[in-house]
Symmetry: C2
Subunit: 419 residues, 2 copies
């Protein structure tokens, strides 16, 4: 236990604030040099990092962690190389800091610009994947922010080894090591202290399962960027191309079932003739399908009956619910009632119907004739992402370097007074 | 008392959400027509509004409200005409909704655009000024948002009469009256219910004194845009033009002392020779000046001694603290320790020093050779403002129509799958 979690976070936060001020002024080249040095130091420390990870895995096995958790925890040479490569890739991204968003000259001659600046101190609360330690650190440094990282206790030694390598790299390139701090205790009260640290931590980003995200959203006194659910829909319109509908639906559901961008509910226009074939393709790929009464009648024998809870369920598994709707308006209504404002798609050849769906579905990402599995910063061309946000303020959808910045107004005058 | 404040807000919130969906789809012309009709209905109802206001003023006098509060509460024909004119002015602003922020085509042909959309349901909690009812309603409608307004009990009848006129105007133009709802009770527990209404209200904006803003910031479970303090600084550098320094400093402090953009602390470079003249000008305009020991020695007899609390005080009055610093770095450090991230200014002819100040001072608004009293959406060319934000996320400085929007990602494909 930590004697005083709030004092610990206040101390770490004050160091982070000082480091953030240095990072905010660092040139793009200086930040890139820091990240490239961190890439080197992670590679140099490979043996020590893998040994630390082996201790975590052994302890996890002894503690009876599930196979899935052990897999998320485990590093090998390939995974560690990918972690180092990811830091190098972030160093190659465009630096958002310092960019002018707009500039206006007022009639009195005052020139006002909005300029992107870092947010400041970002808290990352994450679970077993040790790669988050490094990914989050790299994105924060490149965007000029200081990071306070709180990883899961099961990855304690792995996170410590990766963190030590990363900050040695920063220091080698002349950047402050305290720009990236790792909470040195597994005491869960420290998470509460981070969530309460208004004015000390400017933004908290949770990375992990629904239990973690829900706790952060419920408790936080500081702003949070996160998504809780990805209850995503594909609506197959009556004017959809059947072959495209099958390809998009199968990809959206089955490419990877455990990702937040996976489709969970398929909505089919009653005017679309291909429902039996569509459901048949899903079943053939190993998906269990739960249908509403109309769907069950249209494709008998391949589905079980959906109940009310299915429409609000994120399966994250090879399971899909199917509802038949009377056109795009009913589809939009269904998504408004049951969706989670993450990613929803329409398949149709009808431009008017498509634009209505894109306009009226109130989700962070809306797609026309494309798979929901594109919900990813890399696929969006943003480089790495720190997460996907389904809240409505600041940033929505994939959050990458630009989402880790804010702006300030800079005015240049010649002695103007308001008078 | 309200039996169940949470249920009241849930009911109002559901109506607001439905109205917000209609407003989000409304064309610019439809929103402008609604606001112009509301301008007319306010003018039509002038006698009833002034009579309602007279009842509030009489009740306030009987209850012993201060003269300042009664002045904020009181309407007359001129003030009411200005309220109606302000609605008409908002109708003339550019509509931010639907604007594409960026557009990118991915190598796979997927075209991704970010498009501005309304935030949704905005709660406004305000005190005695009845004009806020109408200003906030107009800005929310023009930006496609529904508003839930909770005004002060002392302006109950005024707010009800203004609200009735406003929504009759919306309805006359075919917009849903429930786009702007007024909380029908003075029960303070309703404010708590609004602040707790995550998922029902998307953003709360408090408009009023420090007590109100502090309560909102402390309690809110929904995002808040606000500023608590405006502890603003003007730093007069050694390379400042003395005449410009006097003009900027006197305007920043004395043009209006009760506004959040007023200067509270004057920082003077010890290399600037004009401190006695500068302080003399402030004193001559009626300002009480409190100096640190060096300032007291440089201009004896015109100041009292500042104590530690002065550097952290927002006087909102004809009072100013003065500290002598050893150059721009000490000025930046002073502002980092004592400022409120609102508006800070430098006066200098030295471009390098100025750019350092603009870059390193971490405030929503930083100004070079201009008065801090320009901290205002109208002066920034944004049209009306709904408030000034000193938080770090979403919007900083004056918040106008664009700050009342967020964005969504819209992707248009040709059957792309992630594969």
């Amino acid at each position: 236990m930590t004697d005083d979690p709030a004092a610990l976070i206040a101390t770490m936060g004050a160091r982070a604030r000082a480091a953030a001020a240095v990072l905010a002024r660092a040139t793009t080249d200086a930040k890139r040099a820091g990240l490239r040095a961190a890439t080197e130091t992670i590679r140099e420390d490979a043996a020590a990092i893998l040994a630390a990870n082996a201790r975590d895995v052994a302890a996890g096995e002894a503690a009876g962690l599930s196979g899935a958790m052990l897999d998320r925890l485990r590093l090998d040479e390939g995974r560690l190389a990918a972690i180092a490569d990811a830091v190098e890739a972030v160093a190659g991204l465009d630096d958002p800091v310092g960019a002018e968003i707009d500039r206006r000259e007022r009639p009195n001659g005052l020139v006002l610009a909005r300029v992107r600046v870092p947010i400041g101190v970002i808290g990352i609360v994450f679970e077993s994947r040790p790669n988050v330690t490094v990914d989050a650190a790299a994105l924060c440094v490149m965007s000029g922010n200081a990071a306070i990282l709180r990883g899961g206790s099961e990855a304690r030694d792995s996170n410590a080894a990766l963190h030590a390598a990363f900050v040695r790299g920063l220091a080698r390139a002349g950047l402050p090591g305290e720009a990236v701090q790792l909470v040195p205790t597994a005491d869960r009260a420290v998470v509460g202290a981070m969530l309460a640290a208004a004015g000390v931590i400017d933004l908290v980003i949770p990375r992990g399962g629904k239990g973690l995200v829900a706790r952060v959203q419920a408790e936080a006194r500081v702003p949070v960027l996160a998504h809780l659910d990805g209850i995503n829909h594909v609506y197959v319109d009556g004017a959809a191309d059947p072959a495209m509908a099958e390809a998009v639906v199968v990809d959206a559901k089955m490419r990877r079932t455990g990702v937040c961008g996976a489709m969970e509910t398929l909505l089919v226009d009653r005017a679309f003739p291909g429902l039996p074939a569509l459901v048949g393709r899903l079943v053939a790929t190993g998906c269990a399908v739960r249908g509403d009464p109309v769907a069950l009648a249209l494709a008998p024998g391949v589905m079980t009956a959906a109940d009310d809870a299915d429409w609000d369920t994120e399966y994250l598994d090879a399971i899909c619910s199917v509802a038949v709707v009377a056109g795009v308006e009913q589809a939009i209504d269904h998504i408004a009632r049951h969706g989670s404002h993450h990613t929803d798609a329409i398949v149709t050849e009808d431009t008017v119907v498509a634009e209505r769906f894109l306009n009226e579905v109130d989700s962070a990402i809306v797609l026309w004739n494309a798979s929901t599995q594109f919900a990813d910063g890399g696929e969006f061309g943003l480089g790495a992402e720190i997460g996907i946000a389904t809240g409505r303020l600041h940033a929505r959808g994939p959050v990458a370097l630009e989402g880790l910045t804010t702006y300030k107004w800079v005015g240049r005058g010649a002695g103007q007074v308001r008078g």
